[in-house]
């Protein structure tokens, strides 16, 4: 099968959906000639023109606001926020307006709005360009939160997001755009709310997504070789809706759970998974306490050594797996 990068897969998803439905359009900063700061929309401006690939002023609040207004009145906008860190200047429009509009109107409006953004560290972009803020949005009823890792998932999930009649926050990772992988030529969609078991295993369950997924898979590989441990790796794909069932089943089998995310540990989605596990039957299957491998509780530093120190990595995941399995 052909291979694409995440960047290409995302672009193809938008392209296909724009051909399928003339109401789909893209708006954001620097997405025209330049093709977006990470090149995701490259070529789309030449193909679709400035009406449907709309460059905006540096005005994130009204980017989301106007996308919302368009979504409420028959269009299907994909609004790009260059960095998830910039959601901070558009939070009202995301959280108080887009997420709640349907509810506040008693179900009278539909909001088919996709907010594409990217986050994460690893490039020395420092404290204001490296955050992982998905947990904020999981805390807001009315938003769906999607966070793909592979090209296959990126494409299938973005197409689903575009066809969804609800606001979807679609979070990419700046370090994952070059990830490559197989993507079929034929059309496919990936449903929301179904976790993907990326690797089967029987000793311990690891949940990881986005840029952390390859790290978790690598750790799993190493664990077989180094400790003879069989690690199951699950990517939730969508954080809201969240597929609790697949994870509970896995934990029922393995009795051990490690959650990996790049976001700051405190109040990250690992915390929610910990609570969900406690509240489910999985609690009774647990043979060891849940382990979280997550970003350190500090702003993201610029210096490479410091930045890497603050982020989860393969070694930290391996250490957590071993702790969980009481391997010294």
């Amino acid at each position: 099968m052909r291979e694409l990068s995440v960047r290409e897969a995302l672009r193809e998803a938008m392209r296909e959906e724009m051909y399928r439905d003339e109401n789909v359009f893209v708006m954001g900063e620097d997405i025209t000639e330049h093709g977006g700061i990470y090149g995701v929309t490259q070529g789309l401006y030449d193909e679709f023109g400035g009406e449907r690939i709309r460059i905006t002023p540096i005005s994130e609040a009204v980017i989301i606001g106007s996308a919302l207004g368009a979504a409420m009145t028959g269009m299907r906008p994909i609004a790009e926020l260059m960095y998830i860190d910039f959601t901070t200047v558009a939070m009202d429009q995301i959280v108080n307006q887009a997420a709640k509009m349907r509810f506040m109107s008693g179900g009278k409006v539909e909001v088919p709005l996709v907010i594409r953004t990217q986050g994460g560290g690893g490039r020395g972009s420092a404290a204001q360009h490296s955050q992982s803020l998905e947990a904020w949005f999981m805390h807001v009823p009315g938003l769906k939160v999607v966070m793909p890792s592979t090209p296959y998932d990126a494409k299938g999930l973005l197409k689903t997001a575009i066809r969804d009649d609800n606001p979807v926050l679609f979070v990419e990772h700046k370090m994952a755009y070059n990830f490559t992988g197989e993507v079929p030529e034929e059309e496919y969609l990936i449903p929301f709310g179904e976790a993907d078991i990326k690797r089967e295993g029987s000793d311990v369950t690891v949940i990881a997504n986005s840029y952390m997924l390859p790290r978790a898979l690598e750790a799993a590989e190493d664990m077989v070789k180094e400790e003879g441990l069989s690690v199951e790796v699950i990517d939730p794909l969508t954080l809201e809706p969240f597929d609790e069932e697949t994870i509970v089943k896995s934990v029922a089998k393995t009795g051990r759970l490690v959650v990996v995310h790049e976001a700051v540990k405190r109040c990250g989605f690992g915390a929610e998974i910990a609570a969900k596990i406690m509240e489910s039957e999985a609690f009774y299957y647990l043979d060891a306490p849940l382990e979280r491998v997550a970003g350190m509780e500090a702003p993201v530093p610029y210096n490479e050594k410091l930045e890497m120190h603050g982020m989860p990595n393969t070694d930290k995941i391996k250490a957590a797996i071993k702790r969980s399995c009481y391997v010294k």
Binding site: I64, M75, G142
Partner: protein
């Protein structure tokens, strides 16, 4: 006078409908039947009515926390509005929204809004949508003087100007933003001056003169339909009541209120109508009809069922 007597009578009716609706709303509030903060529109009726008289059902408006008047002027139903104020299942938002969230997208009402400036962000999207879909719909964006100090005001007007969107920004300058006097917090005397930042036309209009509002908005709507882009209109007006029902109004004195009451927009239109040949009888019967409709609306609302508690999980997502 370009406006026919019939149209003026309709405006009179709508303005009175707003006034009497708000008076009922205050009564219901004082009876403890309405929760949360409620902001009434009394005194500003000419703005909503003058503006919406230019709009068709398919045109859009965005509204504010002080939204009852806009909703009625755009054709909102008194029964559903009243039921919503009372939190009933038959209300516009099935009781989930209340006063600050009345919306009726079917007739272009994209919602009142609890966030100052919230709707200012949304309105250009509706105008963009109209433009992209190739219709001649326009959007009217209502907001207060206070809202023009929120960043979203600036972003929205800039975007609309750059994209030449069919939108009318209609600022109701009622001299106060909650308890703050405009001249304490607003760096310009006339909000209309802010159009200079976007190179768009602007106009100041007497917000208590429904005909003046009508005509100014008419010009702006025509320009919008003519691909002439956005206009900023500032209507100078006043709210007679406190910011919210129950506001002790320590920040202003009664004389000011009295002065403005003398400029009542409804009386003013009534006088004009009489000049135009309407009889006191006619005006009286309009009032009576409205009172009757409001009786019915209140009855409807009061006898409507509460929403089922399980409905809290409905209407979050489209399935």
């Amino acid at each position: 006078m370009e406006l026919s007597k019939e149209r003026l009578l309709k405006m009179y009716e709508d303005m009175l409908k707003i006034r009497l609706f708000e008076e009922r709303a205050i009564k219901l509030f004082n009876k403890g039947l309405i929760r949360g903060p409620m902001h009434v529109y009394i005194g500003q009726e000419a703005v909503a009515v003058g503006a919406c008289a230019n709009l068709r059902e398919e045109d859009y408006i965005t509204s504010t926390h002080r939204g009852h008047g806009h909703c009625i002027a755009k054709g909102g139903e008194l029964k559903k509005m009243t039921a919503e104020l009372l939190g009933k299942a038959t209300g516009y938002s099935k009781g989930k929204g209340g006063s600050m969230h009345i919306a009726d997208p079917e007739i272009g009402i994209l919602g009142a809004n609890g966030i100052v400036g919230g709707g200012i962000g949304i309105a250009p999207g509706a105008a963009l949508s109209a433009k992209m879909r190739g219709t001649d719909q326009v959007a009217v964006c209502f907001f207060g003087d206070g809202a023009t100090n929120e960043g979203i005001f600036h972003e929205s007007l800039n975007l609309a100007a750059v994209w030449e969107l069919p939108i009318v920004y209609l600022c109701e300058n009622n001299k106060y933003g909650l308890t703050s006097k405009a001249d304490e917090v607003l760096a310009v005397e006339d909000v209309a001056d802010r159009a200079a930042s976007y190179d768009i036309p602007s106009e100041i209009v007497d917000g208590n003169d429904v005909v003046a509002v009508y005509e100014a908005v008419k010009r702006a709507v025509e320009r919008a339909k003519d691909s002439g882009g956005p206009t900023l209109i500032e209507a100078k007006t006043y709210r007679w009541e406190g910011h919210f029902v129950g506001d002790p109004c320590v920040y202003r004195d009664d004389c000011e209120v009295e002065e403005w009451k003398e400029r009542c927009p409804i009386d003013r239109l009534g006088e004009l109508l009489v000049e135009e040949g309407a009889t006191e009888e006619e005006l009286k019967s309009i009032r009576e009809q409205i009172e009757q409709d409001l009786d019915e609306a209140v009855d409807f609302a009061q006898s409507s069922p509460e929403p089922e508690v399980e409905s809290i999980f409905a209407d979050i997502f489209v399935d």
